[in-house]
Every structure is written in C-alpha cells, then in structure tokens.
Symmetry: C2
Subunit: 111 residues, 2 copies
DNA sequence: AAGATACTGAAGCAACAACTTCAGTATTGT
DNA sequence: ACAATACTGAAGTTGTTGCTTCAGTATCTT
C-alpha cells in the first residue's frame, strides 16, 4: 500500500480542496502534529485526519506516529507526479496550438 | 462571466475526473462537436454537456454554437493557470526540501 | 413543409465528500 | 496511579457529483 503508483484522480482530487491545500501550505513551513494542523482550520481533529488520509493517498503527505503524536510532513512524490503530468500534457497541448495556428492562418488566406 | 479569474478549486476539480481528461485528450487532436465527443464515452449527450460546462468553468475548454452544432475546442487559460500554480508552489516546496535536508544533516551530527 | 439532427433544460437518483458527534484507546506528565 | 493529551473508529448528516430520463427547441436536409 505504501508504494502504490500515484493515481492521478486521487492527486487532483486531493489538490481540489482548499482545506487540504491549506494543510500543504502549512507543512511547507515545517512538519506538524494533527492537532497543530487543526488549530487554525476551525474544523474537528477527526476532519483533519480525514483530509490527511486523502493527502497521504495522493502521496503529498507522509505521516508517522511517534508516541501518541502523529507527525505529518510533506512528501514529494505527489507533487512530482503533478509536475510530470503537466509536462507530459504540455507537449501535446503545444503541438495542438501550433496546428490551430496553422489552420487559422490558412483560413486567413482562403476566407 | 467569460473572463472571471480562474478558480483553482474548479480547475483541480475539472481535472480530477477521468471522463473530463479523456475529453481534453480528444480535443488536443482537433475541435469536436458534443455528439462526436460523446460517441466513444458511452454516456449520454446530456452528461457530456455537463462535463463540458465544468471544463468551460475551469477555462480548459471553450465552446461556441455554430448553427445547431456546439463546437468545442481546447482553451489554454486553464492549463496555463495549472502550470503557474505548479511553478509557484515548486519554489516553496524546494525551499522546504532544502531546509529538511539541513535539519537531517544536523541530526546526523547531534543524534 | 416535414422529418431528421443536434442539442437544451428540468427533474430525479444513487454514490460519494466533507463534515459532525460520541465513545473509545494509547501515551505522557505529575 | 490518575488525569490530561492526542488521537482513532464508527456512525450519521448534509450537500455535491455524475449520471439518467424525458420532454422540449432550434437548425439542417430533402
């Protein structure tokens, strides 16, 4: 379960929620416990844990239990997968843009 | 409504669905009508239109009605917004990675 | 003009998402 | 040992998604 390949659906889903992006922004600063993360969010601990599960699934966060505290840190795999996806699609997207530019300029010639 | 700034929530939400990503992949090849898009998807026209609405909201697709046909094309604004977001977060992410590398090597020194 | 085509709009429905509450279970501090 | 802390798990609620059906309305085509 730990090294499942990253599911792009889960990744986009994870990133689509503002609370989860807030958690990520928080973790960019430093690792934090669940309750510390919960503090500024105005939601219950339970809800935060649920968000964390989704972020872990997307490999954007890694957590580990130390004593009674669950320490949460950023994981890079998810973010790298996003960059990879974006890069892969960029080339196709660009090709298409070039093609349309062509079509357009041909239309200009033969209106 | 046309030039609303792009909402990152809508953007990620739009990209989080495989049917919608399939539509985008299709439109990278060439513009298409709603019914042409529907053909390989195995869902109703109505469902496709609903997906298109979400893609338009995210500025990933632009559609325009010509006669009785709605022609759908890729729009770049959404994709560019995604790249922008990724770029913006990359720097923060990198800073953090450096910091953790530091912390880690300090731990190595004082265990 | 009449039929075929290409959507459009409203309504409904099952599954899922983001919460909550409440009742635990470990760990830690005194 | 005992209380406080830091979660954990199950269950329930409310709203949103991704679909459907069905009944239109334009716009071709012949």
């Amino acid at each position: 379960m730990r090294d499942r390949p990253i599911d792009i659906n889960r990744l986009f889903h994870a990133l689509g929620d503002p609370t989860r992006r807030a958690i990520l922004d928080r973790l960019v600063e430093r690792p934090a416990s669940v309750s510390r993360l919960a503090e500024p969010l105005g939601i219950t601990l339970t809800a935060v844990v649920q968000h964390l599960q989704i972020l872990e699934d997307a490999r954007l966060v890694h957590t580990e239990k130390l004593g009674r505290v669950r320490v949460c840190r950023l994981e890079t795999a998810g973010f790298r997968a996003l960059e990879q996806w974006t890069r892969n699609h960029r080339t196709a997207w660009e090709r298409k843009l070039d093609r349309f530019a062509e079509l357009l300029s041909e239309e200009d010639k033969n209106p």
